[in-house]
Symmetry: C2
Subunit: 211 residues, 2 copies
């Protein structure tokens, strides 16, 4: 049965789930969440996900939210992208948690504030503060990737598909690929995987639709 | 063999790992990380953990960081706190990721800015902005706990020991237990578990030591 992913193109968290499913060879179809028209704040959506967020995975009678949990479900269902053994799997989870804690959560918010809020509503101190924190996160990621093809072991894993979640978007949020050479080539390496697509091509919805 | 946890009392992320190990009945001992004297920024510490953070677990020849990954390791090692079956386990992970993304990451930072930075260095707009975001997170948690004893299934799990990570601390950061009645009784419920201790009693280091 085809899995459904409630998602939208601007959501890097949705992209983490969508990319993981795609690279693991899972059949899935997107269900568009009209975030910018308030869809995730509706009562109906809260019934689907009390957290009021995208993505949400529906697989038959099973519903799951949080990109990290969805990634883990895909690993369990397919045996793919979870590392070569139990220790590597814990390393994969380690990077997924780090991404949620330090990278995607901050990058997603900063990109939202800088691009999707009206100019006169953008909190400048918050943006500068978060950009400085993100710089530390990029440095950690760049250091971890030095001399390596992938974050964990010798193969692409959900660690990679988590940490890259917001890093392909064109909207400015303080991330410049050329500043981080190891991240730069790693993003190209991920993009060379069969089936890879840019978030705006993999999921419905993009700023172009709202222009 | 006794596991070692690199940690310090002020770190709610360390507390999540320490509390999970304690409630799962694991033998462990703390290794004090002198965060406020810059210990996590040293080259030696970066060799232990490229992310430069606490906690870090050392179990014989195995080293692991990120509280969420450590919690998962403890679940695997003990069979405890991971939910009653595979679906509950994914629900546990779901709340752990949500906590890392929306709750602890923001609560820990806000508490740091409001209490551990010199008064003239506290970024007021950042504090107010993050407090507003945290209010949404408390509301989500309080709603999810309505009519339930625990976040997932019928027993305490790592979902609970993750989400409570910063909520016992006395330093003000905008969280008032009485405002969130379901969270309030749930925190009491966790504190009634055999072996439970307050973070400042479970791990070395507290603001009192630096006064």
């Amino acid at each position: 049965m085809t899995m459904q992913l409630y998602c939208f193109g601007e959501s890097g968290n949705s992209y983490k789930a969508a990319l993981t499913m795609t690279l693991a060879g899972v059949e899935w179809e997107p269900v568009y969440v009209d975030f910018f028209k308030g869809a995730t704040r509706s009562g109906e959506y809260r019934d689907l996900n009390v957290m009021g967020e995208a993505p949400v995975l529906v697989d038959g009678d099973f519903t799951l939210s949080q990109s990290g949990a969805i990634q883990e479900y895909i690993i369990e269902q397919t045996g793919k992208l979870g590392g070569a053994d139990k220790r590597e799997h814990l390393e994969v989870l380690r990077w997924m948690f780090w991404d949620n804690h330090k990278l995607s959560s901050q990058a997603g918010m900063t990109r939202f504030l800088m691009n999707f809020l009206p100019e006169d509503k953008r909190p400048q101190q918050v943006i500068e503060f978060t950009q400085a924190r993100l710089k530390s996160a990029y440095a950690t990621l760049d250091t971890a990737l030095a001399g390596r093809d992938w974050l964990v072991g010798d193969a692409i894993s959900a660690a990679d598909t988590a940490c890259c979640g917001y890093l392909y978007y064109p909207e400015p949020f303080g991330f410049t690929r050329k500043d981080w050479p190891n991240i730069d080539v790693w993003l190209d390496r991920i993009a060379e995987q069969p089936g890879w697509k840019h978030p705006y091509d993999m999921m419905p919805g993009s700023p172009a639709d709202r222009a």
